[in-house]
Amino acid sequence: MGSKAKKPFIVIVAFVMCLSMTGCFDKREVDDLVNPIAIGFDKGEGNSIRMTLQIAIPTKVAGGGDGGGGGGGGESVSFTTVEAPSIYSGLNMINTYVSKQLNMSQIKVVVFSEELAREGIEKYINALIRGREFRPNSYMLVARGTGNVAERYLRAVEPELESNPAKYYEMVLSAYRYTGFSANTSIINFYKNMVSESTQPLAVLADISQFENSDDINTDNSTYREKGRDYPLEGDFKAGDMPKVGTIKSEIMGLAVFNGSKMVGEFDGEETQLQLMLEGNFGYSFVTIPDPLSADNVVPLNIRQNRNPKRKVEIIDGKPNIKVKVFLEADILSIQSGINYESIDKVTILETSAEKFFEKGLMRMLKKTAQELRSDTAGFGKEMKGKFFTWDEWTDFKWIEKYPDSKFEVEVDFKIRRPGLMLRTNPATGTEEGEQ
């Protein structure tokens, strides 16, 4: 052939020869892989951990190749638990009896047991961050209780509405945007806050419900009594204590508070909402407020946070003095007592009462984080950081140790914007009959 065509020809031949001797590395067919969607970590013996993998079975999830889908969630996953000194050794062991190669790039949820969390999970978080296959956006959960709670939780997750449990996790854990009872605790956020000297990390609480029949439902574990209320509002529960029964056993509510990498306490639902408000991440949600003028009734409101809160930190006498102003807006959802709060004169009463309600809750929560839990979950250190010029000055200041001595001033600005469809409530007409 002509000399012009010879050179590329030789190059191509050389290329093909080299490649045919080396083969194709890293080439793994999609059906040679198995994709676990959740990992659970429990404490094993000594220094080992007990790892539970929730593996999705694609043929059951997707309904096979001939169309026809659906099918309950129970059949579409399989579980395996193994005890090993570290994550990767566990994966190696699992690879020996699962037929396909494990691919961790679809992990959506990482669950730690409460025991393990209280001991400190720094080493596992570092492994998860360093590995290339793990998603930085997967959610961190802490399962409440003692024993192998992570495994128990994962086994109890049986999604009804989806055939794909991964979808269930994704949807349920992003529900914080419209309930406010959990938060965006992805692994990367957890890691950033863990090593940061101005914020402390949080993880979402998860548990399975303790009630089997609706006759057993009680509010014994609710926190409403500590708050001085007469009856529990919807936020006064943590995961596992919610008064509910159903085929969906998993519950997600509340946050686990960490100091460094060790868990020190828990937030219930209401405190989670307040935490989101302090960060500025509260989307919108239904919140119930006790009726100011009628003691037995409540006023549910649809609350939004449209502006970021104003936060100011000053050092007075070596102690931090923290001022927070939170801006909230609401629409009235229902007025149980029928009092005409929509009118101009009465609406301010409702607003003031709501402001007081939130202020009380915020003060309580902030005092709890400072004195009881000693961890700055809302990240007030960020405001402090801006006051220094160099990094060394900031690290010498040691904000984390100064935080527990803080004093708080909280202000809430509450505005009711819309009353829904009704402008006034008309009472029911009827004579007072019945038992005399």
Binding site: K7, Y191, K385, G386, T390, W394
Partner: protein
């Protein structure tokens, strides 16, 4: 070696952007974060300003030598010996640059997507790309760059915009980071990150006009500095200070965070495509200039027979460091500590001496 190839300003600017901005996706943000802490972006601005000032000085000195590159000036000054000396210095510089970057690109490509493949396999692709484009000469490479660089710049802009939801201003506090001494003194050394500006000084035979040269230099440096600063800024504001120093691949880490709803996650594999393209462009250009300088120094007419031997040499050198950490350390510390001497001090000295010599000759010849 005949130089009847001429570039326009657009093509030369794209060349310069490829050369200098490649660092932005490699380890530039991490290095800046190591030096300046939260004020890494500030260090980046400072370094860019220094580089532009240095270029200004050099361009003023260049005014008498239109259309000649450094090696020609060396020849005017000291004849063949100085030319060969200069040429050898530049050849060593370029070979080192090429081997380091070949190794870095391949290693990082491996980390990003090809964990099990041997390094030689990945390197083979890059080397083949370099060899094939060297056979075709500089023209198609320049044209390819002038088409692709605007696209790449726009996609990086989109990339930075997509990161805005994850940015938080408080990661940039405290403002002055690790302290003024660290920023200004140690940061000044990092001007060797702009050492690829030496390509600009090898370009005059192709550009041929002085005002085009100036325009190329200033515009190119400005755009490069914008790219570098914006990427550093986004990196530092997403990952607060201590975390940002321990990342190997800043751009990759940033890409992993991008998430639009449930559908568009883990888009870092798209970064593999951009990465590979930039890698091919960068390595091919450096390779061609290496051959070009070699031919010019030793007055060779044909450079094509040199292609395969040089490719082998470069590939072997790049496999010398036994582990990735050594390679990074070599490049970031040792090489860069000396690179600024060759890239900036050498041209300045040369030009000053050459100017003096030329004006002396003129004074001698003119009555």
């Amino acid at each position: 070696m005949n130089n009847n190839i001429t570039f326009g300003s657009h093509e030369a600017i794209c060349l310069l952007i490829t050369m200098i901005s490649t660092k932005a996706i490699l380890n530039f943000p991490s290095t800046m974060a190591k030096i300046g802490g939260p004020a890494a972006w500030f260090v980046a601005i400072y370094v860019s300003v220094l580089a532009i000032i240095a270029f200004y000085i050099i361009s003023k000195l260049y005014s008498k030598f239109e259309g000649k590159d450094i090696i020609d000036i060396g020849e005017i000054l000291g004849g063949k010996t100085l030319k060969i000396l200069l040429g050898i210095l530049i050849i060593i510089f370029l070979t080192a640059l090429l081997s380091f970057y070949l190794r870095n690109f391949s290693e990082e490509m491996k980390t990003m997507g090809f964990a099990m493949s041997p390094i030689g396999f990945i390197m083979l692709f890059f080397v083949l790309g370099m060899v094939i484009s060297a056979y075709h000469g500089i023209e198609p490479l320049i044209r390819f760059q002038s088409i692709l660089v605007p696209i790449t710049v726009i996609s990086f802009t989109l990339f930075v915009i997509a990161l805005i939801p994850s940015m938080s201003i408080d990661s940039i506090m405290p403002i002055l980071g690790t302290g003024p001494y660290n920023i200004f003194v140690k940061g000044a050394l990092r001007i060797s990150d702009f050492a690829e500006i030496i390509f600009l000084f090898l370009l005059p035979p192709f550009i041929k006009k002085r005002d085009v040269f100036n325009k190329v230099g200033f515009t190119g440096l400005t755009i490069c500095s914008m790219v570098l600063v914006s990427l550093t800024f986004s990196f530092v504001s997403v990952y607060p200070y201590p975390v940002s120093t321990d990342d190997l691949l800043p751009a990759y880490e940033l890409a992993r965070i991008i998430k639009f709803g449930r559908f568009f996650e883990r888009a870092e594999s798209i970064l593999v495509i951009t990465w590979a393209t930039i890698g091919f462009m960068y390595l091919s250009t450096v390779f061609y200039f290496l051959l070009h300088v070699f031919g010019k120094t030793f007055d060779l007419y044909y450079y094509k027979p040199l292609i395969l031997p040089f490719a082998l040499v470069v590939m072997s050198i790049s496999l010398i460091p036994p582990r990735l950490m050594n390679s990074i350390l070599l490049e970031a510390e040792t090489f860069r500590n000396l690179a600024w001497l060759i890239a900036f001090v050498l041209p300045v000295l040369l030009l000053i001496i050459a100017r003096a010599a030329v004006s002396r000759k003129k004074r001698k010849t003119s009555p």
